[in-house]
Symmetry: C2
Subunit: 293 residues, 2 copies
């Protein structure tokens, strides 16, 4: 079923929507289930998600054509959601919603971003968008990314192999890294022990980055202050999961990049990639399937 926003992007880019058998390129907005067999004439597949671990697991990728994902296309929106989650935690909005006018409980628990140090672990597109939001709020940013190449606006950028240094430095942590073998349970009982009793952890990346059993224990024990999660492991998080019952947890149902607005957000990036494809230029967000991102 062609999507209106994407058909408009294709048309505005001077291309036409045709059956897959006649296509030079396939735009695929679903998951790996139902992914069609591709004729060799399809030289480019544009996936609509940023995370591609399910496509990797399903063996969808081949090396007979170019593959792009949506890495970075939704970064501004996801960064906004990360800021919303972090501020909601610091400002005790979850507590306020559940416990009416609990001023004596909430007032002393309110925290601020002014003067706080926030670590963004996995600072790619989302991190680049989130950094100026945090610094505008008076926070200092420590970015961690694979290369250690400096993130504009960050006070400090560390390469991923020095991730272990940030836990003690950070007041709060935002996870924005892809789900790979290396990032599996990046937040575990060891790393949680290095964080602070006032720390909020925000996850807008993928659920498996956090060992949820260890997180639950840390939240119950007061090892950290709270967790604000847009992603969980598994999803949906079962309604009897013990995380739901904790007062210092905020869980949104994987809506940092809402499905309802996905193709509208993707459209301008798709149009640009069609222009590049026609011009023989390098595409945005080319996938390296072997690396898992």
């Amino acid at each position: 079923m062609p999507d209106d926003a994407l058909v408009e992007a294709v048309t505005n880019a001077g291309s036409v929507v045709v059956p897959t058998a006649d296509a030079d390129a396939l735009v695929w907005i679903g998951g790996p289930a139902g992914f069609p067999p591709l004729p060799d004439t399809v030289r480019w597949v544009a996936l609509a998600t940023a995370g591609i671990e399910k496509f990797v697991a399903a063996g969808v990728f081949d090396d007979r054509r170019l593959w792009t994902n949506a890495s970075g296309f939704y970064a501004a929106g996801v960064a906004e959601h990360a800021l919303a989650l972090l501020l909601a935690g610091l400002r005790q909005i979850n507590t306020a919603v559940l416990d009416h006018w609990a001023k004596e409980r909430i007032d002393p628990a309110v925290r601020t971003l002014r003067g706080a140090t926030v670590a963004i672990v996995g600072a790619g597109g989302i991190g680049r968008e989130l950094t100026p939001l945090l610094t505008a709020c008076g926070a200092r940013v420590i970015a961690v990314n694979r290369s250690g190449r400096s993130v504009p606006g960050a006070d400090q950028t560390l390469p991923a192999d020095r991730t272990d240094e940030v836990w003690a430095l950070a007041d709060h942590v935002v996870l924005a890294a892809p789900a790979t073998a290396e990032t599996q349970h990046l937040i575990n009982s060891d790393t949680l022990a290095k964080l602070h009793p006032h720390t909020w952890i925000v996850n807008v990346a993928r659920g498996p980055l956090i060992d949820q059993t260890a997180l639950h224990r840390a939240l119950v024990d007061g090892t950290i202050a709270g967790a604000a999660l847009d992603v969980t492991d598994p999803e949906p998080l079962p309604l009897d999961d013990p995380l739901w019952s904790l007062p210092n947890v905020i869980i949104t149902p994987h809506v940092a990049n809402p499905a309802s607005g996905l193709t509208r957000e993707m459209a301008p990036f798709l149009a640009e990639n069609i222009r590049r494809f026609e011009a023989g230029e390098e595409l945005l967000a080319v996938v390296t399937p072997g690396a898992g991102y």
Copy 2:
């Protein structure tokens, strides 16, 4: 009972804490109840609150000395809380906290600040702090203040007598005006009718700025999308108030400027005002009691 943070500020400014009878200046961190009779030797009274309507009503002010309040001292923190409330509303965090993994309900209701127009009504100190936070998030700001003097970073600044123009222009509204006769029920059934079904109203100013009966009706009818309130009329908001039961309402218990951190936030401004007092310079935040701010 002298407060540690303020005593330190007084001492660091080179002054000493003495009994009121011997004082040149009085620092008063409570409300009007128990305000002491003042000898004429007290030439300056420093109040610790930004809103002074209760002191006005209690007849505390006189014209025999200088009075300052804390106008602007807490502005950065209150602006952060306003941003937290607005983002929590747009990102459906209240719904997510109450209705576990309600993805089908939440996903299509998520909104963004990117490209949105936010009106700050009563753009003084809080508005000046809030404007760069909103523009960092990709919003456009329309400021309304008494003078209409341009607020840095705002796309447009209107004088208060043109407030009525902003309702139709704004996607979202933040109230940051003092409580005066003119701002009483500024949000009423007429102004609500000019707003949009996607509009969130944030109030970090004073409860009486909103006609809560009219607000409740507008929220039930879908005239606007939601309301995120740090202040209510009265406070505490009674636990049987119908606003508590609405899913599109967020109420925090007047903690934008938490009492627990008040004197720590005030201290550097008090130190600066002591320096100015000793030097015979104009003080920060001089009160104009007749105007109510």
